[in-house]
Symmetry: C2
Subunit: 206 residues, 2 copies
């Protein structure tokens, strides 16, 4: 029997993706579930829903709530948090690099470092120097990796992954997919892992 | 020291309010927390955000996801679910009756019966005969209660409670308030109860 696995769809600009990126590795290892990291861009997903900005900016009561909820959850998980001076930040370059990392096996430490830069250190993750320094600190060849991240084939791959997200019915991040089941939100990580292990099965809709 | 308490804001048309209405009583009793039941109407709250319908109808991917998520969660909690043939149903009359019940101590069984009618039996809760039968089945004087529910003073009280929800920054249901902290969603029930018990405190924002 193959080891259970989940797809983890995330965006570097997303606050709740921050929480999940920081904890999914350990949670999945404890559950005995493999994680397939799927960086994508929320911008086109939101545009398909008619939003030209984060819904947390478009709807102020949702935004005010989210920042406080995020602070409470970070505290609960023991994660550092410094409210970013800019939101949302452009996660395009980081997502392109993460796509390379997903192929090469270093996406988890890279994603955690980028999320920490954005949400715990208030650094500008759209800056190539910031991303380059993060890759370098992982002991990886930064120049080479950034070049490959920005090659046409990799740009196309990220665009296709984002289009795939829309096709799959994703409307936010983080999201999880397990055997065709979609789970949305950091709150659903545990349910998605349980589903992958077969603990919470329910027949598919008829 | 007073017994810890939370405000529980809910709407009879709301799918995730169904889950919470069915389980908050037992969860709160186990946590040693009192519940102040606050029925309100989402319609005016959504209008204030620019929505003239449920966001689950306005944004089809969110709606498709919600119905499947609801089925999974109902299964997880062991709650019956029959997808309603009409959504959202008008919860105005039920909310007015619930407001009377909140004052008189029978709101919990009433709310559970109305939610069961809407989401497990596909009954039309906007019909006075349906609400009247539910009140009657609780052994309460239905005619008298429906008359008081529709008195001007009670209509005004529900309108004011809904306006208060907007003022407090609510943007959906269910929501919980504990000492000025707002929690949104069935997912946050456990966190709200823990907060009420002082287990998860974090300083208020400066």
């Amino acid at each position: 029997m193959p080891r259970p696995a989940i797809e983890f769809w995330f965006e570097f600009a997303s606050t709740y993706s921050y929480l999940t990126v920081m904890r999914i590795g350990e949670a999945a290892r404890q559950a005995g579930v493999d994680v397939e990291w799927k960086p994508f861009l929320l911008g086109p997903v939101f545009l398909a829903l008619g939003w030209n900005d984060s819904p947390f900016n478009i709807y102020p009561p949702k935004g005010r709530y989210m920042w406080r909820d995020l602070a409470r959850l970070a505290h609960k998980y023991g994660l550092p948090l410094r409210l970013p001076s800019r939101f949302p930040r452009n996660g395009l370059l980081a997502a392109r690099v993460a796509l390379v990392g997903a192929r090469e096996g270093w996406v988890e430490p890279f994603a955690k470092a980028v999320m920490t830069a954005n949400f715990a250190e208030d650094r500008e993750i759209s800056e190539p120097t910031v991303i380059s320094a993060i890759v370098d600190a992982l002991g990886l060849p930064a120049d080479d990796i950034l070049q490959r991240a920005q090659a046409e084939s990799n740009k196309t791959a990220l665009r296709e992954q984002t289009e795939r997200a829309v096709e799959l019915g994703l409307f936010g991040a983080p999201s999880f997919r397990v055997d065709g089941e979609l789970f949305w939100g950091n709150d659903r990580l545990e349910d998605a892992l349980a589903w992958a292990r077969g603990a919470q099965r329910l027949p598919a809709p008829g």
